[in-house]
């Protein structure tokens, strides 16, 4: 049994796989303490699935916290994790896109899940989950509610700001100007996807493009993305949040 763990800045996602099959998955808050997060992952596997840490043959870790974990593990390269996971999810995958809390990553994939090329979003938060966090707070809703709100939009609004900080100010101005919240939310989504589409172009994504990362749980964002890039897409077979964790487990299997 192999443990793949993606320790992000906000959440730690972990999966157990055996014979390439996903057995169980858990998500815990990282709380800026990767060692503690890993311990809580083990505790969750034990309590939720009755799986003891002693049966885990290999642990591979990717993400922000990988260098900060003291327990023995394999450091799995994040880009290779995403490439492996994309092909695991969709065997004919040619590209992958992962939109996490802090950054977006687009990659192109060759034969046998070989990473061909990748690009990471620039320093700006637009195109990443943090951007949506900031905006949803400004609009007084939760991130989970944003898709349903945006679907109620009836008018096109344009956002001039791509920076999260300026966009937040612009959102407040639009609310004060009486613009309906659904229209503002839809405009925010389109602004975000505009950046993501540029990222995709930089690696010349081809379909099937596998979509992962927490933002890809948002069906409205996925719909706008599909409309924008006009490439065959497939959301990661399990919860898209676990894409990198699955990739790490697959790399653990290779013994790298």
């Amino acid at each position: 049994m192999l443990l793949g763990c993606d320790i992000g800045t906000a959440a730690t996602k972990a999966v157990l796989i055996k014979d390439d099959k996903l057995l169980h998955k858990v998500k815990v808050a990282t709380n800026a303490n990767p060692d503690d997060a890993l311990q809580r992952v083990h505790a969750a596997f034990a309590s939720e699935a009755g799986i003891s840490a002693t049966v885990i043959e290999q642990t591979a870790i990717t993400g922000w916290g990988q260098q900060k974990v003291s327990a023995q593990h394999i450091n799995a390269n994040h880009m290779n994790c995403l490439a492996k996971a994309a092909v695991w999810s969709e065997p004919s995958a040619r590209s992958a896109l992962c939109l996490g809390a802090q950054q977006g990553i687009a990659l192109s994939i060759g034969k046998e899940a070989r990473l061909l090329d990748y690009r990471v979003s620039d320093k700006c938060a637009n195109g990443a989950g943090k951007f949506l966090d900031v905006i949803s707070e400004a609009l007084g809703c939760t991130v989970e509610e944003t898709a349903a709100i945006a679907e109620l939009s009836t008018n096109d609004l344009s956002m001039s700001s791509q920076c999260a900080v300026f966009a937040e100010s612009e959102v407040v101005s639009l609310v004060n100007a009486g613009e309906p919240v659904p229209d503002i939310m839809e405009a925010i989504f389109r602004s975000l996807i505009k950046n993501v589409a540029t990222l995709c172009k930089r690696v010349r994504v081809k379909g099937p493009l596998v979509l992962g990362g927490g933002l890809m749980n948002n069906h409205r964002l996925v719909a706008i993305l599909n409309d924008s890039i006009k490439t065959e897409t497939a959301v990661f077979a399990q919860d898209p949040d676990y894409m990198a964790a699955v990739g790490a487990a697959l790399l653990a299997k290779r013994g790298n």
Binding site: N77, H78, N80
Partner: protein, 465 residues
């Protein structure tokens, strides 16, 4: 008599750095721990510099693959500064030049050439604080903060009186916005004449004839300004040295096609420094000869400077090296087996540039103009970007590259415009993946050493799994 260059902190620091490098390697120490107890008593100024030296730079310098070569290079720089000192003592007019025009002609006219931008590279590479004070000074003096540190540094040095002001500046109108701004700002602020050799847009025979006329006009202007003439024998001696330097570089470029690449990556920055003062002294020829000799021996003896068992990742740097962290190339070799094949700021294709014909003054002027026309950066930015793209793809193919890295300053606008085309073309033609990131060549605060290591580490780890 107190040396005149000691009045100028920029030059004094570079000169003392050469002393320290030469002396450090003479101690026989192979590590930082061995070095400090082995150092002889040093003047106070030198001791102060030791405290400011970047430990990773010094550690890389002391390694067997780098030490003799760095020492040879430091001797070349030391001689260059000694010649500059002598010229200053003799009251020779000083020519500040952008290094795409090499200084053989200036010396042969009895002038005193100084590439102040090249000095920025050495200081930034060796010291933790580098030339950040000069960078800040340049902004305070009105030079744009978004320009390249290679120019911001000297502008700040002039503003602080830390570098001697030239009597005339000479540069080609290529390659970059930042260098063009630097010379124009300096002209505006200090009223020092600027002789601009106009570089045409196209890169063909007609364009070269235009460039040659511009080049000759620049020489004529210098003759009139300073009542001087080219000394043919001196020019021939210097051009011959430059040709010999290039013969070793061309040989090295062939050797770097071997697997594993036998030429350590840190040397690319030194190659640039050496090329920018081509023909200035025999020590710079000896530097290039030593690089060639060490690489040849590694190939003949089937040796590698990579850690045992480390798989090589052959890397072409599609723009420049990062002067303020030239130790990074040693780090990449040690950590990831990533070797440095070639870069756009130090490559001179033999089949295009060739040698300067020493038959007579006219042939030498023509040959030197031709070399300037095709010099790193100059050739890169002229004409349609196809020239640049094709050069990089050819290198990636000829050297069988696994990876390509583009690191540019925000003001390398001409190169950024081609960066994606280059990475796409290299991927299409060779399957080598690329990394692109933004840095400043001199200012360590723009993209920190830690952030750069994280970026590069992530990229090169992708090849391991």
């Amino acid at each position: 008599m107190t040396p005149m260059i000691e009045q100028y902190e920029y030059l004094r620091r570079t000169d003392a750095l050469c002393d320290l490098l030469i002396g450090a390697i003479d101690t026989g120490a192979m590590t930082l721990e061995e070095l400090f107890p082995a150092l002889p008593p040093l003047p106070e100024y030198h001791m102060q510099l030791i405290n400011e030296a970047n430990p990773e730079f010094i550690a890389a310098v002391l390694k067997p693959k780098n030490r003799k070569v760095v020492q040879a290079h430091a001797m070349g720089v030391k001689q260059y500064l000694a010649d500059l000192e002598q010229g200053m003592q003799e009251g020779k007019p000083m020519v500040g030049y952008f290094p795409s025009i090499t200084p053989e002609l200036f010396y042969s006219m009895g002038l005193n050439p100084l590439s102040v931008e090249t000095m920025s590279v050495y200081i930034a590479a060796a010291f933790d604080k580098g030339i950040e004070a000069e960078l800040d000074e340049s902004e305070a003096a009105g030079f744009p903060g978004h320009a390249c540190g290679i120019q911001r540094g000297p502008f700040g040095a002039y503003a602080k009186g830390a570098a001697p002001m030239a009597d005339v500046f000479v540069k080609c109108s290529a390659p970059c916005d930042s260098s063009n701004m630097f010379y124009q700002y300096t002209l505006d602020k200090y009223k020092v004449p600027l002789l601009l050799v106009d570089a045409p847009y196209h890169s063909d025979e007609r364009a070269f004839e235009f460039f040659l006329d511009e080049f000759k006009q620049m020489l004529k202007d210098l003759e009139e300004m300073f009542d001087c003439k080219i000394d043919e024998d001196d020019l021939r001696k210097r051009v011959t040295m430059g040709n010999e330097q290039l013969s070793h570089l061309y040989a090295l470029q062939k050797l770097r096609r071997q697997k594993p690449n036998p030429d350590p990556g840190m040397h690319r920055a030194l190659d640039f420094g050496s090329l920018s003062v081509a023909g200035s002294n025999q020590q710079h020829v000896d530097y290039m000869k030593l690089c060639h000799e060490e690489a040849r021996q590694r190939v003949e003896n089937n040796q590698s400077f990579l850690p045992e068992g480390k798989k090589e990742i052959r890397t072409v740097w599609t723009w420049g090296f990062t002067p303020h962290m030239i130790f990074i190339y040693d780090w990449l070799e040690e950590q990831y087996g990533a070797t440095y094949l070639e870069c756009a700021t130090s490559t001179l294709p033999e089949e295009i540039v060739g040698y300067v014909d020493t038959t007579d003054v006219d042939s030498m002027i023509r040959g030197l103009a031709w070399r300037s026309f095709n010099f790193p950066m100059q050739r890169t930015v002229m004409s349609f970007s196809d020239v640049y793209v094709n050069d990089m793809v050819k290198i990636a193919k000829d050297y069988d590259a696994d990876a390509a890295v583009y690191s540019g300053n925000q003001s390398c606008r001409h190169a950024w415009a081609a960066a994606k085309r280059i990475s796409d073309a290299i991927m299409d033609e060779t399957d080598a993946r690329s990394l692109t990131w933004e840095t400043d060549f001199i200012d360590k605060r723009f993209t920190s050493h830690a952030a750069t290591k994280a970026l590069l580490g992530e990229f090169f780890t992708t090849f391991e799994q």
